[in-house]
Structure formats: C-alpha cells, structure tokens
C-alpha cells in the first residue's frame, strides 16, 4: 500500500489529475454500459409480462445472462457495408450516435458534489449534446445508400429538431425556477420536501419534457424513424453486427440520460422524498445516489410501459403534437413562471 502511494506521489500533478478524471469517466461509463445491457433485458421482460408472456428465461438463471449472450452474438456477426455506401461515414455514424449520449453524463450530479464536471452552463451543455445525437441517425441514413434508411433519417431529423424546441423551452422554465444553469444548483433549489420539487410548479413542463425526451430518443410511440411496418427499420436497416449494436447502445444510453435528467430537474435528483416529514431521520442512512437511481428507474419503466401500450403515432400527428401543443404550452408556462417568480409564490419562489 505504501509503495503504491509512493508511486502515486511521484507522478507529476498534471498527469495525476488526468488519471483521476479518466478513472472517474470509467466509473461512469462502465455502469452505464451495464445498465444499458440490463435495460434491454428489463424491456423484454416487462413487455413480456404486460403481454402475458414470460420473456427471455433460457440463458442463465431466469434469463439473467441473456444480454451477455446477445452482446456476444452481435460481436461475432459480420459488419456488412452496402455497395456504393460511403464506407467512412457508414461506420462513423454509430459512433456519432453513441458519443453525445455518453459525453452528456459528464455534468450529471449523482449526489451532492458527486459530478465529473461541475460546470456553470451544465443545462446548456446537456441541451447542446442531446441535439447532436441526431447526426448519427442522419448520417447513417444517408451513408447507407438505401431509400428506406434515407426516409428514416429525414423523418428523424424533422422530429428531433421540432421536439428540441419544446424541450429547450421546458428547460428555460426550469432554469427560471432554479435561477441557475448548474445541475447541482438546480437540485439544491428543490430542497425542502416533496412539494418543493419542481414537478408541482412546472407540472405541464414536466410532462412536456419527458414526452419530448421520449420523442428525442426515437422511442415508441414516436419511433417513426424506425417504423418497421412502413420503412422496415429506417435508418439502421443496412446495419449489422457491432455497428448495429452501437445504435442500440446509443438509444438505451439516451433513454437512461433522459430519465436521469427528468429526475434531476423535476423530481429533486438525489434528494430524499421523505425530506421535511417524520420519516426523514429514519431514511437518512440511504445515500442520495440511491434515490436518484430509484427515480430514474421509475422513468425507465415508463419508457417500457409506453412501448408496450401505445401504437405508433402517425407522422403528421407527431408534428402537430410538437408544434401546435407542446411549444405554445411551454411559451405560456414561461409567462406563468415569470409571474409566479415576480409574485414570489411559495414555497418555491420566496
């Protein structure tokens, strides 16, 4: 132990900090990848039970090793590049889809102070990175040299751009209410009790944000970008093997990210739901990160529940929901929040 410490101290300071940052990144990315793997299993199990099936139960005890079997299978498969496809962009697109989904985790606070990069403009950074995830899809669609893929890419581009506006306006409400762009400060502004969390004063924004998040991740019922019934699989119809798996990783990592963001901005992040009640002391031993994960799990379950429940939206109805309902609603709510802050309506804005 002492020798290890001595070796550590002999390392120059600049390299020391870089090493610490790299270790932190690994500590964030590896659990994300694991949860992505098990989210796919959870999805199949949950949807299975909703449809009165059992779901995967053959690999390992109760099917628990299924994601590993799937991963191995995808690793062994051949990556096929279509003829006349742009090879460089075709193979680069899955990376472009995955990288923003992982990079956004840099500013997510898991507990008070437990964050990789505690930057002031955290919320803006998140918005910027979530808006980048569409490039993977567009480039994949174009580079595949297939009309189904191109149609899927175009649908997805239009959809993501429209829902981003509603998402951005919903976040404007959050930053007005919290008075900060820093995600840690946003959580701290919700301290007090269950009532103090922003879900109550920002209730319409809470709904708009989460549904826009579902639309941004191209999840059912907004999954026209894939639309098996009309454009076979949309943007990833030509992909196979690991390149295809990367798209899946990106989609599920984005789902987890949206769940985390919704929990942080509207459900008080790492704060205990029993704050301000007599149960607070009883549950004070629970670390904040557990509460955050519990809240994220609720939203992730909603994602799966939506997929099992709703039929796919028609394209024009998606556009109508985004432009004619969500955006006006968010603009009105910005005014409402402005008035509420001016009037110092408690317990949020006093």
């Amino acid at each position: 132990m002492d020798t290890l410490l001595a070796i550590w101290n002999s390392v120059p300071e600049g390299i020391q900090t870089s090493l610490v940052i790299i270790i932190k990144i690994v500590a964030i990315v590896v659990p994300i990848m694991l949860s992505v793997a098990y989210l796919t299993l959870a999805e199949r199990k949950v949807i299975g039970y909703i449809q009165v099936r059992i779901g995967p139960n053959r690999v390992g005890p109760r099917g628990l090793l299924q994601p590993i079997a799937d991963g191995l299978k995808l690793l062994m498969k051949e990556v096929i590049v279509p003829s006349k496809a742009n090879r460089f962009l075709f193979l680069g697109a899955p990376l472009l889809a995955l990288a923003p989904a992982l990079a956004a985790w840099a500013v997510i606070p898991f507990d008070d102070g437990m964050v990789l990069a505690d930057i002031n403009a955290g919320l803006l950074y998140i918005l910027a990175l979530t808006s980048l995830s569409v490039y993977g899809i567009i480039i994949a669609g174009w580079a595949s040299n297939s009309k189904y893929a191109l149609l899927g890419a175009l649908r997805s581009a239009a959809q993501v751009v429209s829902y981003e506006i509603a998402m951005g306006f919903a976040l404007v409400c959050v930053l007005m209410a919290a008075g900060s762009l820093n995600l840690g400060d946003i959580v701290r502004a919700q301290e007090g009790s269950l009532i103090h969390w922003f879900w109550l004063p920002l209730l319409p924004m809470f709904v708009v944000y989460f549904l826009s998040g579902v639309a941004e991740t191209n999840r059912s019922p907004f999954d026209v970008a894939e639309g098996e019934s009309e454009i076979v699989a949309g943007f990833h119809v030509e992909y196979s093997g690991m390149a295809f798996a990367l798209f899946f990783l990106a989609e599920y990592a984005n789902m987890i990210l949206i769940a985390a963001l919704t929990a942080i901005m509207f459900l008080g992040g790492w704060l205990s739901p029993f704050q301000g009640t007599f149960l607070e002391d009883i549950f004070s031993w629970v670390p904040g990160i557990v509460w955050l994960f519990a809240k994220m799990a609720v939203f992730l379950f909603l994602f799966l529940w939506f997929r099992a429940t709703f039929p796919r939206y028609r394209y024009d109805q998606i556009m109508r929901l985004g432009w004619k309902i969500f955006i006006p609603l968010t603009i009105v709510w910005i005014l409402v929040i402005g008035v509420a802050i001016l009037a110092q309506i408690g317990p949020w804005f006093d």
Binding site: N120, A121, L124, L127, A128, I138, L154, V160, L181, Q317
Partner: protein, 205 residues
C-alpha cells in the same frame, strides 16, 4: 509550459483545415459535415476564451439545429455538379477580384493596425467563480437592452414572414380536427341495422 497554447494551435489547425475543406470538397454532404467540424472547433476556441455560453450556444444553435436542416436540404436536393463547374474558367477573374477585395477589407478591419495586442489588451483571466452566462445576461438586459430588443423584433418579423410565405390554403387538402375526433361517440360511427334473415330456399344451391 502551459497547455493552453497547445490546445489553441491544435484547434486552430483543425479549424483552418476544416474550413478549407468546406469549399474544396466535391461532395456537398461532406462540405456540410466539415462546416460542422469548423463550428465545433471554433466553439472549443471560444471555450479557451472563457466564453462558455457563446461556445455552447454555437454548438446548440448552429450544429444542433441549423446544420441539421442544411444536411436535410442537401440530402434531398439532387445536386448535379456538372453544370456548376461549366463556367469555372470564365468566371475565374471575377472570383479572383472578389477574393482579393475581401482579403483587403479583412486586412483593413482586423489587420495588425487595429487588432494587435497593442490596440486591444489581452483578456483578463477570471477565477472559477466567474460565470460568463451571468455576465452576458446582465449586460444584454441593461447596457444593450435596445439593440437586443430590436434584434428580437427583427427575428420575430422573420418568423412571421417565413410562416406567412409558406401558408397556402389549398381547398382540396383535407385537414384533421383532432378535437372532433376525440369527441366521437359510438353512435356517430356505427349504425346497427336489423335485417330479416333471408329465406333458406336459395341457399345451398
């Protein structure tokens, strides 16, 4: 040695490389992608200047929205490069004159006479507490409130103009009325008709 100059030259090199390729590359999709790379690297350079708000907004607005629409349009267009190159030699002198004019203008405006370190002092390094977003906000809504509001009105006019240009009512187009669709009752759609059973003598023949 500080790492900042290294980062600056690294990003500047990528920026110049990308911006040259934007105009040189043959495929318009690649041109758009290199423009995105150029936006990214200039955002990184702005970050070095502690202008994190501007840097992130550059990525958010230009990379996240404007370039998506650009790519969208470029993918839809069937750009035939042949006719575009036809008059290359003929228009070369005009192009060269314009290029030289722009170069002269740039030198006049941002040349060493007006833009050197002697004219403009080096930016002050701020501490970790400094928030570029807050500074920008407070200055925009106090000192520059009129230009800011006028810019907002101009943008609003542009939005309304764009919408009114594309709004064409076509009589033959059928529109949905979701409110009515939601209010639909069973009786509006289904009518139960009682019919007498047909006689059996024609059956089975």
């Amino acid at each position: 040695m500080s790492i900042e100059p290294v980062l600056f030259y690294f990003f500047s090199a990528i920026l110049i490389f990308a911006s040259v390729l934007v105009i040189v590359v043959k495929n318009p999709i690649f041109a758009a992608l290199f423009l995105i790379l150029a936006f990214f690297t200039s955002a990184a350079i702005w970050l070095l200047l502690e202008a994190e708000f501007l840097a992130i907004v550059l990525v958010l607005v230009y990379v996240g929205a404007v370039m998506v629409l650009f790519l969208f349009v470029v993918m839809m267009l069937d750009i035939n490069l042949g006719p575009l190159r036809e008059g290359f030699i003929r228009y070369l002198p005009v192009g060269l004159i314009v290029a030289v004019l722009i170069l002269i203008e740039m030198v006049i405006v941002v040349g060493p006479k007006n833009f050197g370190l002697e004219q403009i002092p080096a930016p002050v390094r701020h501490g970790a507490e400094y928030s570029n977003t807050e500074e920008l906000g407070s200055i925009l809504y106090t000192v520059y409130v009129y230009p800011f509001e006028i810019a907002a009105v101009i943008l609003l006019v542009a939005i309304i103009a764009a919408i009114s240009l594309t709004m064409r009512k076509r009589p033959q187009t059928k529109y949905q009325n979701p409110a009515q669709q939601v209010l639909v009752q069973r009786n509006d759609r289904v009518r139960l008709v009682k019919m007498k059973a047909e006689k059996t003598e024609n059956n089975g023949k």
